[in-house]
Amino acid sequence: MSAHLSEHPSEWTLRRLHAGELQADEATRARTHAASCEQCSAVLRSAEEAQRQFEAGLPFERFEQGVKQAEERAQRQERTRTGGSQRWMGPLVALAATVLVVVVARPLLETNPLPGVRAKGGAVAELRIGGGEGSQRMARTDVLEPLAPGERVRLGYTPDARSYVLALSVDAAGEVTPLYPEAGQSLPVEPGTGTHWLPDSIEFIGSGAERVVVLLSDAPVTVEDATAAARQAFEEGRRDLAQMPLLNMDGDQTHWMLLKP
């Protein structure tokens, strides 16, 4: 069965038909087509057979029990995550409903973190992911980093000779969210050598990709200007986060692409 022949509904459409998800007119069209098309009716039969075998092999009561245990497991993991001293923790503060949640906390970080990859310049920024089921990890800048449910992000920087720091994120719709600070202008870097961690952990909720940007600069930058530059970059990338260029601003920039759970 090809999903890609224009005369057939896609295989996915047929599977949605089987699940009873299509609107009435679309369902009628697909059903009418499948009635006279052996290829498409085979897809429907196959979906029916898969469901039949599933129900025969796993009675509802066992399924229900398994889901209940999975919920309990998830709750235990959540309690461990929020209650353990070795975990990231803190009350959630909504930044933007259904888009982003910032966790005000100072998580315990593993020692000797690997440096992040910088886009240019001498300063370095890092993005660490943690708080989920797995161990903490450093996000790479050259691949899309998938986030598991509950995982949070922490940003760090080594300022080198730079004096100010600012962080923001852009979602797949081009919505820009200032992360640090939320308003005003970029903040002076912390004194001292080594990595400095921004005070908040961030949990991205919703779905799709999110691009996170850290800008280290010599002069302060207003959040407003940085937000405008991010929007402009998003447009220059043809509204595709993966194609988005560096922000048109002076300083060192580090970009990461995250895939929200």
């Binding site: 999903a3 896609s10 949605r16 085979a42 075998q53 999975a70 998938p146 990709a209 595709d240």
Partner: protein
């Protein structure tokens, strides 16, 4: 006297029977598809069943949002795919043990022998690409989504999805060509 309209309101939670009915609906509509995805990726019957339970537990936890989805099947399959790929990645030996694992499950299948072979080929090549490409490839070649459907499911543009699929196709030849 005018006619009165019923007042509708959203009630959080609900009695256990509602929840049970909701779970039964998930079971009868989507159970086979989600378990098939977990078996296809994890290649281990017990792990697949656990993963499937995790996916439906998430659906229950996010039931308000889930019910509002235009395509709950897309939501579930996306979550199941993501969950299983993460699980493979987080296992100590990762993809290596995945290759060595006994094939406890037959390939997830719809649409005849040729499609089954394509899905088997896809599975063998998955470890060679990044996670987002893996997801796109699975939705396209295994779920039978169109480019537009994959793009919508992953929140990416059609050209980006096409590019990723074409990169993947270079690993497997004509059989994986993007149409």
């Amino acid at each position: 006297m005018g006619t009165s309209q019923p007042v509708l309101r959203v009630i959080q939670g609900g009695p256990p029977e509602d929840r049970r009915a909701f779970l039964r609906e998930l079971y009868t509509k989507y159970g086979g598809s989600v378990l098939g995805r977990c078996r296809y990726l994890l290649k281990d019957a017990a792990k697949a069943e656990d993963a499937m339970h995790d996916v439906f537990a998430r659906a229950l936890t996010h039931s308000d949002g889930f019910r509002a989805e235009a395509s709950p099947l897309t939501w579930l399959m996306k979550i199941a795919t993501h969950h299983c790929l993460n699980q493979i990645r987080s296992e100590r030996a990762g993809w290596r043990s995945w290759f060595e694992r006994e094939e406890a499950a037959r390939p997830e299948g719809h649409g005849g022998q040729q499609s089954m072979e394509t899905r088997d080929l896809v599975r063998r090549l998955l470890s060679k690409v990044d996670v987002e490409t893996q997801q796109a490839v699975i939705h396209y070649h295994v779920d039978g989504m169109t480019l537009e459907e994959v793009a919508a499911a992953l929140g990416r543009s059609v050209p980006t999805v096409r590019k990723r699929l074409e990169t993947f196709a270079e690993l497997g030849g004509e059989e994986l060509r993007v149409r």
